[in-house]
């Protein structure tokens, strides 16, 4: 099947079988490999993308269900919030292996979009579903606080 999707601000046509998770369309067909495969069951958050600005697990989002949505991946982030988060991540060297960090950043951008100055508890509550096997959590928390600070200017 041919699908037209609104991806990172452009309309993209892609061939995929119905019921293919968006994750695999992004990674294998469109070669947008910043979105990662970690568990395939929405339990780790490594595959997080935005659908209309809302963080969503792309491993559980089927290609036929995104036709009416704007899809944003890590490669397509370009908001002020996103650059604040990326800057904070670099300043604090948040990543270790880095494999989960695209997903972490997509979730953090979602968090800061709805709550520009979250407390540590609010960060924990929002970020619970994004696993990091390197356990960079302390720096993720610090990174969110730093990004909030950068956004304040």
């Amino acid at each position: 099947m041919k699908y037209d999707i609104n991806l990172n601000g452009k309309t993209v046509s892609v061939e995929a079988e119905p019921e293919t998770p968006l994750l695999w369309v992004l990674r294998d067909e469109l070669k947008l490999t910043g979105t990662k495969f970690g568990c395939g069951v929405a339990s780790c958050g490594a595959c997080t993308v935005h659908l209309d600005g809302e963080p969503m697990r792309s491993c559980q989002t089927l290609i036929e269900d995104v036709a009416d949505s704007a899809v944003t991946t890590i490669e397509g982030l370009n908001s002020n919030i996103a650059s604040a988060v990326q800057q904070a991540w670099v300043e604090l060297d948040v990543p270790q292996c880095g494999y989960c960090q695209s997903g972490q950043i997509m979730s953090v951008v979602g968090l800061l979009s709805e709550n520009p100055k979250p407390s540590s508890d609010e960060i924990d509550e929002y970020m619970y579903g994004n696993a990091c096997r390197c356990a960079t959590y302390q720096r993720i928390r610090a990174g969110v606080h730093r990004a909030a600070e950068i956004m304040e200017g």
């Binding site: 395939g40 060297d93 948040v94 880095g98 494999y99 619970y128 720096r139």
Partner: protein
């Protein structure tokens, strides 16, 4: 472990010469080397472009632990460039040049050795390049080389100044000095600088970082394996008729060793779908069939029997004269590593009739040699290209090179015209074996009337990681696998009358080193027992430990040093309101780490881990912030697993399958981690693993303090009396 401390020639480790590598580089042995056509190699570790850009050739893989920053830091320091003037590239697979100096003729990463074995070598490589460039400039300018220095990538002196790039061509024709002069540590600007940032962070925040899983070779096929439910089952036949309705399915084929059926497809999702549709017949007569409970019973029985090996003190001290006898039996279950990037690698034919593997390669030499054997090719026809790895914790190197061999066998059953990418799912990973072995400890401690230790009887039983594997020689001596007893038999506590006995239990399943290897269980047993001694003798846990470390040898001094620092920074003895502290200190991989865990709540109502304070002595701190990050991560890894994780077998089948039942540490599980580094002029030692061993016992000791001295002696804690808030 012997750390290289001499200033022997940096090229001498593998008997290579500069000429060898320059020749290699000129031929463009790998895509990575060939890509930077303008750049010249001054030695195997340093390449410099005519624009003055420096590339460090990093011989260790990057799984987050930092060598892709740490090794370039060493070169930049000695060469005289800023960190923004240097980048990194992973070394080609060539154990003659890029071997781990502590592993012998193997190129590989493990045992927290990356910095320890590279510290002198990479500094010398940078210093050699500096001397060659200065000599070239001095020759052209007609000045005395002694008047020239390199600063921030510029050769300056005698009233002249030019970029190092201008002299690369001339320098590249020179022979590298074997023993270049190194900087005095007092002149270090980059080594030890806490403001140095990682070189690989930016690409890990914008999707640009390419892990092995992200590779797409032109015309590649994806393969996934249909494996038996229990390890050891063999394929007798399969029916792929239902696979044919999966668009993108190519074919299925039994691996030559009959261990699995390889399902080939045009993309990953089709491969997964086709695998679901495949039906395989198995011969399970030699498959694993044991239960975790049986394995546990065997281990516990071994602890009560006469040990096979007397590891320390053949003469045992009777407990008869003791005023108090403390006894605990500990049990540690199987654990999976579960790195965030599931295992994978890609293999393809090269135009010269050879093979190229792309892998997050922890030990490229192993996969390299395995491919040579499988395909009957000479070593020089094979290359293993190291990619970024999404974690490992030990899993990316097994004694059988399991997943790399699987990929090679899958490639072997194709016509070899298309690259083959092997992908494991998370289920494949959790069920894929090579676990941290289950271990038991039975510890009996006799105290005299003054509460002093008079005898310590320590029995350990479990499945040896190293015996019967290609790595046996690394660790097994006189029948004793050092990795089963490390951290107990070599304890630095002054313990009189200490007996250590070991019994190997029979093979339960494939087992493997897991971040900090034997220390994962030995530190726990030791540090919980020491706390019990403190409790029984009415002593403060920190004071008792300092007392047992007061003998004055260097190990004791360094252990005492981190313990005092951690206690001071944690405010030991003065926890916040409603909070309780626990402490542990342990040496592993040459490094000394003390941790104080602070919790609130209690075991019954829910423990909340509020804070962990850590002090580490790892010799010269090359990249202090990376060291801190490794302690933070090591603590999280150690604590996350003991909280609630285990692998259990029923009739040989693994019960867990994915993160919902092998739950990773989550952000809300653990509060602040505060790391302090002890200043040191000793040679650098490991940081990837040493943060892990003290974490779980510090937590256990804090839980005891919060919960009427409840001593958790079996894991996971969540199944042995501890609930977590």
């Amino acid at each position: 472990m012997t750390i290289q401390t001499t200033r022997r020639g940096f090229l001498a480790g593998a008997g290579a010469t500069a000429f060898l590598f320059v020749g290699f580089g000129a031929k463009g042995g790998t895509a990575a080397v060939a890509a930077a056509a303008e750049a010249k190699s001054l030695n195997p570790f340093v390449k410099i472009g005519s624009d003055g850009s420096v590339t460090a050739i990093v011989k260790h893989f990057e799984k987050g632990q930092g060598p892709a920053t740490g090794l370039p830091t060493l070169i930049a320091e000695e060469l005289g460039v800023r960190m923004d003037q240097i980048s990194f590239e992973f070394a080609p697979s060539n154990p003659k040049v890029y071997n781990n100096l502590l592993f012998g003729p193997f190129q590989g990463t493990g045992g927290s050795t990356a910095m320890a074995n590279s510290f002198m070598q990479y500094r010398q490589a940078g210093a050699a390049a500096r001397e060659m460039l200065i000599k070239a400039a001095a020759g052209e300018w007609g000045v005395d080389p002694a008047t020239l220095t390199i600063e921030e990538g510029m050769i300056v002196g005698s009233g002249k100044s030019a970029s190092i790039g201008a002299f690369v061509s001339a320098a590249a024709t020179m022979e590298a000095p074997a023993e270049p002069k190194l900087k005095d540590p007092s002149a270090f600007k980059l080594i030890g600088n806490p403001d140095i940032r990682r070189l690989d962070t930016k690409i890990k925040t914008n999707g640009e970082a390419i892990f092995a899983m992200d590779l797409h070779r032109p015309n590649q096929m994806v393969t996934v394996m249909a494996r038996p439910e229990r390890k050891g089952g063999l394929v007798t036949g399969f029916d792929d008729s239902a696979c044919k309705s999966v668009k993108g399915f190519i074919r299925a084929a039994t691996l030559p060793n009959k261990a699995a059926v390889a399902v080939f497809a045009e993309n990953t999702w089709a491969a997964f779908k086709a695998r679901e549709a495949l039906s395989v017949d198995w011969d399970m007569s030699n498959a694993e069939d044991r239960d975790s409970e049986v394995i546990k019973a065997e281990i516990l029985a071994a602890l009560d029997a006469e040990p096979t090996y007397n590891v320390r003190n053949s003469e045992r001290i009777a407990m008869d004269g003791a005023t108090q006898v403390l006894e605990k039996t500990f049990y540690f279950p199987l654990l999976a590593h579960a790195p965030m990037e599931p295992l994978n690698c890609t293999i393809e034919a090269t135009q010269d009739g050879g093979l190229l593997m792309h892998d997050g390669a922890q030990m490229p030499t192993g996969a390299h040699a395995a491919m040579a054997e499988i395909f009957q090719l000479p070593m020089e026809k094979i290359q293993v290209k190291t990619m970024l790895a999404g974690g490992s914790f030990g899993r990316r190197v097994t004694p059988t090179f399991d997943y790399q061999v699987e990929a090679a066998l899958a490639f072997a059953v194709t016509d070899r015209s298309r690259p083959v990418k092997l992908v494991w799912s998370r289920e494949d990973d959790i069920r894929g074996g090579f676990y941290r072995p289950a271990f038991g400890h039975k510890v009996t401690v006799g105290l005299d009337k003054d509460g002093e230790i008079m005898a310590w009887d320590h029995r350990i039983a479990g499945q040896s990681i190293m015996k019967g594997t290609a790595f046996e020689a690394f660790s097994v001596k006189d029948g004793i696998d050092g990795s089963s007893v490390e951290g107990v038999s070599d304890t630095h506590y002054a313990i009189p009358g200490m007996f250590v006995g070991l019994t190997d239990t029979k093979k339960a399943t494939d087992v493997l080193w897991w971040r900090s290897v034997g220390h994962t269980h030995t530190a726990y047993a030791m540090e919980v027992m020491i706390d019990l001694v403190a409790e029984a003798s009415g002593k403060d846990p920190v004071a008792l430990r300092l007392d047992l470390l007061s003998g004055g040898d260097k190990d004791q001094q360094r252990l005492a040093g981190v313990l005092k620092l951690a206690a001071e920074k944690a405010g030991w003895g003065k926890p916040g309101n409603g909070r309780f502290q626990g402490v542990a200190v342990h040496k592993s991989f040459g490094s000394y780490v003390a941790e104080v865990a602070e919790v609130s709540g209690n075991a019954e109502d829910g423990i909340k881990i509020e804070k962990v304070t850590c002090a580490v002595d790892c010799g010269i701190a090359v990249n202090p912030d990376i060291i801190k990050a490794q302690m933070e991560g090591g603590i999280g890894y150690g604590i996350g697993h003991v909280m609630r994780d285990q692998i259990t077998l029923v009739g040989g089948a693994v019960e867990q399958s994915n993160f919902p039942d092998y739950e990773p540490l989550r952000i809300n599980d653990i509060g602040e981690i505060d790391v302090h580094i002890v200043a040191s002029s000793e040679n650098p030692t490991g940081v990837g693993e040493p943060g892990t061993p003290p974490a779980a016992p510090a937590l256990a000791n804090a839980i005891a303090a919060a919960s009427q001295n409840l001593r958790v002696v079996q894991h996971p804690m969540s199944e042995h009396g501890v609930s977590f808030a």
